[in-house]
């Protein structure tokens, strides 16, 4: 199945939004499937970037962010890759070299005041070439009762993101967990060590290329394979 042709990028879809390709519909191959569904090939497309006006308070916050970035001599287009609005939540995709400036603006600008950072976690997209590892931050403003999400993408070969521990000390353990589970290096973290896995553990368990592990379960007259080898219906 994997040698099936990769479809062209559909009309109107931004290349950055494609995170992979889905083959078939049943998670099984070579089964003599005659339904045709097993031969499906389609790109996995994340929600498209939003364009102005965003609606609601999203515009006010975005204006504030752009103003405060300009005050720091940073053009917003160079800092923010794209803005995605999905299910009533706003996500700013920020280039890593400007993450610290962006987070400082979020925390300090009176119109923004995202004083509470709720942590960072990783997401691994192995098929997104050059942007395999994403770090996702959630910010909460108690002052304005808003939430925003900030996403930073880095290539697998150079998985370095500046640490925000100096701005938000709560990120200490969160960044350690993301390093532990995804291998994202947070440059400037005071002690970036493993936190959940043992210190000498090889690999980063929550990456997609890291196997789940497990053993077959034997029943009377039958065996169930471990979860990662069962049919998946992708």
């Amino acid at each position: 199945m994997t040698d099936a042709p990769v479809p062209a990028v559909p009309e109107g879809v931004h290349e950055l939004d494609i995170i992979g390709v889905r083959h078939g519909a049943f998670g099984a191959s070579g089964s003599g499937d005659t339904s045709g569904f097993g031969g499906l090939v389609e790109p996995i497309v994340m929600p498209a970037p939003a364009t102005r006006p965003f609606g609601g308070w999203f515009d006010e916050v975005s204006d504030e962010i752009e103003l405060s970035l300009e005050a720091r001599n940073l053009p917003a287009t160079g800092v923010i890759e794209k803005v995605v609005i999905h299910r009533g939540e706003i996500t700013y995709h920020v280039r890593r070299e400007h993450l610290v400036a962006f987070a400082t603006a979020l925390r300090d600008e009176p119109g923004l005041r995202f004083e509470l950072c709720l942590g960072v976690d990783g997401v691994h997209y192995p098929d997104e070439e050059g942007r395999e590892l994403h770090a996702v931050y959630h910010f909460l403003s108690i002052t304005h009762n808003n939430r925003v999400r900030v996403e930073v993408s880095v290539p697998d070969g150079d998985p370095v993101i500046p640490s925000l521990v100096a701005l938000f000390p709560t990120l200490d353990w969160h960044e350690r967990e993301t390093w532990d589970m995804f291998g994202i290096v947070f440059e400037g973290h005071p002690a970036l060590t493993r936190i959940l896995m043992p210190d000498d553990w090889p690999g980063h368990p929550q990456r997609k290329d890291y196997p789940l592990g497990g053993i077959p379960v034997e029943f009377k007259g039958a065996t169930t394979p471990p979860p990662d080898q069962r049919r998946s219906y992708n």
């Binding site: 995170i19 992979g20 889905r22 996995i44 497309v45 994340m46 929600p47 999905h86 299910r87 939540e89 996500t91 004083e115 509470l116 950072c117 709720l118 942590g119 976690d121 997401v123 691994h124 192995p126 996702v136 959630h138 909460l140 108690i142 009762n145 939430r147 999400r149 697998d156 070969g157 998985p159 938000f168 000390p169 709560t170 990120l171 200490d172 353990w173 969160h174 967990e177 291998g183 290096v185 493993r194 936190i195 959940l196 896995m197 043992p198 090889p202 690999g203 980063h204 368990p205 929550q206 990456r207 290329d209 890291y210 789940l212 979860p227 990662d228 069962r230 998946s232 219906y233 992708n234």
Partner: protein, 462 residues
């Protein structure tokens, strides 16, 4: 692709040469040279048997409290540097209960995920399940379609769960500080709540009761009445527990002014829940960003301004009373109706019932799929084996758990399984404050501080 493409040079690490058995008093204790001097490892035995450091060398004593210690709240390891009875540095070591729940969920259907999340913070299963289900429903864009009755049942179960969780916090906290009667009372009262859970879901804990789209099954006959009957009993007994401790001079001596963390500290460390409210900030997600219809209930956000262990204790006591208020209002709002979304492509088809061989699909449902409707059988089979698909995208849903903000960050790639689920567990974040709360205090105060954080290691390590 390599899974570990970053290597640290060993230059930064001290050049350690271990020499255990020959020089130490037993095989597990020994001494070794480091760049900072000779380090002696000691386990068990008397202080007298420990060889003192040679004259002129600086003494630093680092004590491991835990991971197996009755008063560290589960497998929490506290690494304390002490000077006599005073703690000069405190660090928390976690990971002893890491079970890979987030990774495992990527290999199960969306509905099966509920059975995993319920086991994270095992004292707040209803909150874990609801946070996860709210996130799945948001990703499916069916939040508005969840029936009223299911939402009200969720609120009832969550608020009862809050009481159970706070009771364990008081019980274990009391036990750790020597108030054993409080422990006995706390666990006894918690059973009243767990009895309700057992009657409604079939299980005392880890009930997997809240499901994407609603709840697993309706309240059983007599369930509503049982909850109504339990409330006065709980209210009376909660008062007994509170009376034991609130004005208790020994209890106050151990908790007043201990474990201090002010608002600035809470903001920096991302602390939420009773610890944040003990600084005087009335921040509660149920009021600030209501979910599950919490805007329809009358209740107070309890705050204290002492920023100490005693304040957090009082907050938990009073929050239980507020939870009872919410449960009473929710019972009045309970109207007959469905408890699962209409959409048959998402709704779990079967209701559960108790048969001669235990809990399983109800006989009516089995009769229907096996004898009456082939389409229903196909639907049942597809939903149970394959599950439903969730559109691509990411969402974040948060609930106010007894410990603080419990958030669920969920990424879907359009498949029948979560692409990535991450839980922002309040215990994980709040536990970071151990150092700020206990450095400079006595060892005994560390216990009180940890008890007031109320960490549950199942949630911390996931």
């Amino acid at each position: 692709m390599s899974t570990d493409n970053v290597t640290y040079s060993s230059a930064d690490e001290p050049d350690v040469e271990y020499s255990s058995a020959d020089e130490g008093p037993d095989a597990y204790s020994g001494s070794y040279e480091t760049t900072e001097g000779r380090v002696y490892t000691v386990s068990g035995g008397d202080w007298d048997t420990i060889s003192p450091a040679p004259e002129g060398e600086h003494d630093r004593i680092v004590v491991n409290m835990g991971p197996q210690h009755p008063s560290t709240h589960g497998v929490l390891r506290l690494i304390l540097e002490i000077d006599g009875e005073n703690v000069t540095e405190a660090r928390a070591g976690i990971g002893y209960l890491h079970t890979g729940i987030e990774k495992n969920m990527e290999f199960r259907s969306w509905v099966q995920g509920v059975t995993f999340v319920t086991r994270m913070d095992y004292l707040t299963p209803m909150f874990n399940e609801t946070a996860y289900c709210l996130a799945v429903e948001k990703a499916l864009d069916i939040t508005e379609q969840v029936p009223e009755r299911a939402t009200v049942i969720r609120v009832i179960m969550m608020e009862l769960n809050r009481i159970a969780s706070h009771l364990v916090a008081l019980a274990t906290g009391g036990m750790e500080l020597g108030a054993l009667t409080a422990m006995e009372f706390g666990f006894r009262e918690r059973e009243l709540v767990l009895d309700i859970f057992e009657m409604v879901s079939g299980l005392r804990m880890n009930s997997a009761y809240v499901r994407p789209g609603g709840v697993a099954q309706d309240l059983p006959p007599g369930g509503e009445q049982k909850i109504r009957d339990t409330i006065p009993l709980l209210r009376k007994r909660l008062k007994d527990t509170a009376d034991l401790l609130v004005d208790n001079s020994i209890w106050m001596g151990r908790t007043v002014g201990i474990g201090y963390l002010d608002l600035a500290g809470c903001m920096a460390l991302g602390i939420t829940g009773p610890i944040l409210r003990s600084t005087g900030l009335p921040y509660d997600l149920r009021k600030a960003q209501p979910y599950c219809g919490y805007e329809n209930y009358e209740f107070d956000v309890i705050t204290k301004d002492t920023s100490d262990v005693y304040g957090r204790f009082l907050i938990r006591i009073e929050e239980m009373e507020q939870s009872l208020r919410i449960v009473e209002q929710a019972l009045d709002r309970l109207k007959p109706g469905p408890v699962m979304v209409e959409d048959k492509k998402i709704a779990w088809p079967a209701q559960l019932s108790i048969g001669s061989d235990g809990q399983g699909n109800s006989p009516e449902h089995i009769q229907k799929i096996m004898a009456e409707s082939m389409e229903a059988l196909i639907h049942h089979f597809k939903l149970v084996t394959e599950g439903f698909r969730v559109p691509t995208g990411q969402v974040y849903a948060a609930v106010e758990s007894p410990k603080g903000e419990l958030g669920c960050h969920l990424v879907s790639s359009g498949g029948t399984r979560p692409y990535r689920v991450h839980f922002r567990d309040p215990s994980f974040t709040n536990l970071q404050s151990v150092a700020a709360m206990s450095e400079g205090s006595m060892i005994s105060d560390v216990i009180a501080a940890v008890a007031s954080i109320d960490p549950v290691m199942g949630g911390v390590d996931r």
